[in-house]
């Protein structure tokens, strides 16, 4: 099962033969600086695929993934050639997670760093409580996305569902299509050059073609909900 360190050829792990725990144990056992490549065959919706990685590995998941795929990822690049279930890249710290298909609910939830790319659409609560992760969705996101988002950027090339950015802190949201509704304390904000610049970088990093930063609108916190306002002191 040892991966080839050349970086050219990938070690193959077939989950119809190898138990999931052995896969994750093998991915955890690599050298701290390993850039080895792995191909995971027949994932068949298994949960907790490639979780807790902490090396610059390249992991290709050849099919649909179940819940919590690539959770807590550090450094590694995990690519799902299919759809991903609930909680994709939950609490990602760094590295990159790419889903070629759609992602279910709570993608990139609580993520602290790194980049999550969904080439299809993401369901409800995408980027919930994000704390520094960047999320780029080529399609649309469901309701309550970026709920209580604290830090990081969420880019949606399609539409956003109800209550986008409810109770948001300092994350920045960019949406190209329609927004069904903004959540509490989330407002549209001016697109300045610095925003167009960072958006262009994110679109490029996520491989988005044919979308210009000028087509997006920016949303963020009105800062009325989470800031203590001395004028309200009498309310307490």
């Amino acid at each position: 099962m040892a991966a080839l360190e050349s970086g050219l050829e990938a070690a193959e792990i077939d989950l119809t033969v190898t138990p999931l725990r052995e896969l994750n144990a093998a991915l955890h056992a690599v050298a701290a600086d390993s850039t080895a490549r792995y191909r995971v065959l027949n994932p068949r919706g298994a949960h907790a695929l490639a979780v807790g990685l902490d090396a610059p590995l390249q992991v290709e998941i050849e099919g649909h993934a179940g819940y919590y795929c690539a959770g807590m990822n550090k450094q590694a690049t995990v690519r799902v050639h299919g759809n991903a279930g609930v909680g994709l890249a939950e609490n990602i710290m760094s590295g990159t997670v790419v889903v070629e298909g759609n992602a279910s609910q709570s993608a990139a939830a609580t993520g602290r760093g790194g980049l999550v790319v969904v080439r299809g659409s993401a369901a409800a609560r995408c980027g919930i409580s994000m704390k520094g992760v960047d999320v780029v969705v080529h399609g649309s996101v469901g309701h309550m996305s970026a709920f209580m988002a604290q830090k990081g950027r969420l880019v949606v090339c399609g539409d956003a569902g109800e209550a986008l950015g409810d109770s948001i802190y300092e994350a920045r949201l960019y949406v190209r299509g329609s927004v069904a509704g903004l959540g509490s304390d989330c407002i549209e904000k001016e697109m300045r050059d610095e925003h167009r610049f960072e958006l262009a970088e994110l679109l490029d990093a996520a491989g988005v073609k044919g979308a210009e930063p000028s087509e997006f609108r920016r949303y963020g916190s009105a800062r009325r909900l989470y800031n203590f306002d001395v004028d309200n002191a009498g309310e307490y």
Binding site: R44, G66, S104, G142
Partner: protein
Amino acid sequence: MCGIAGLFSKTDEMEAALGGHLAEMLLQLGDRGPDSAGVAFYRNPVQPGSCKVTLHSPDDRVDWQGVSAALGETFGAGEAEVRASHAVIAVEADAPAVVPWLRERYPELRPMSAGEAIEIYKEAGLPRDFVARFELASMDGSHALGHTRMATESKVTTDGSHPFSTGLDLCLVHNGSLSNHNRLRERLRAEGIDFQTENDSEVAAGYLTWRMREGASLEAALEGCLHDLDGFYTFAVGTADGFAVLRDPIACKPAVMAETDHWVAMASEYRAIAVLPGAEDAATWEPEPGRVYSWERQLV
């Protein structure tokens, strides 16, 4: 938690092997619901004017052929087809005549379902034991629903297991929990709907029964759930011709659907669909919250 599976065959080949495929789906959902398991199969329809009843007996010494003989003397009936603690009997009369007769004559037996094609089997215990004991792999059918239960709202018993019958050839499986079931149960009792348990899902089933009794279509009755039920739910509802799926507007409970030229499936998790033939190439999607999805067999 709970797990739901629904499978609808589009080909004769799939129809012949339906039980084996649904069994595989239930085994994948065993982790989501180790307390009990149940299925509704739609198969071997009887002629109009006749009905099929599925009965459960808590006592394994029950004389099923005696029951079918008594039904035969009164209405005309076939032999009892026994499957573990349940038996299916085809009766040459309409269900509204047969079921009250059975309840009076055999109060110790519990009618699980009645209709032209439906058969409901359910039992407390691990899904894998259920699949083996009820020999699901030997069953055919046009479509079927399954459920694995992790109990939250009422006792782990056969009666508290899913599917719940919601009328002739209708049944419901539920993943979630309802908050307003006590008050709604009282309201529905006042409308003459009968309840066997304190289970929240049975109230959802009773609600659908009531709405359709009052003339609502299945789709309209399901849309009514969005107004009248408070809580979390993914529902799958089986009908004589197909099945329907609804998630609550917040969509806390998961659901995934997939379709090929051979079948349509829904499940709580994709891994329960991955076991179906050709799943890797199926169109696969997550049903939107608050939207009714339904499939019906083509009536040729």
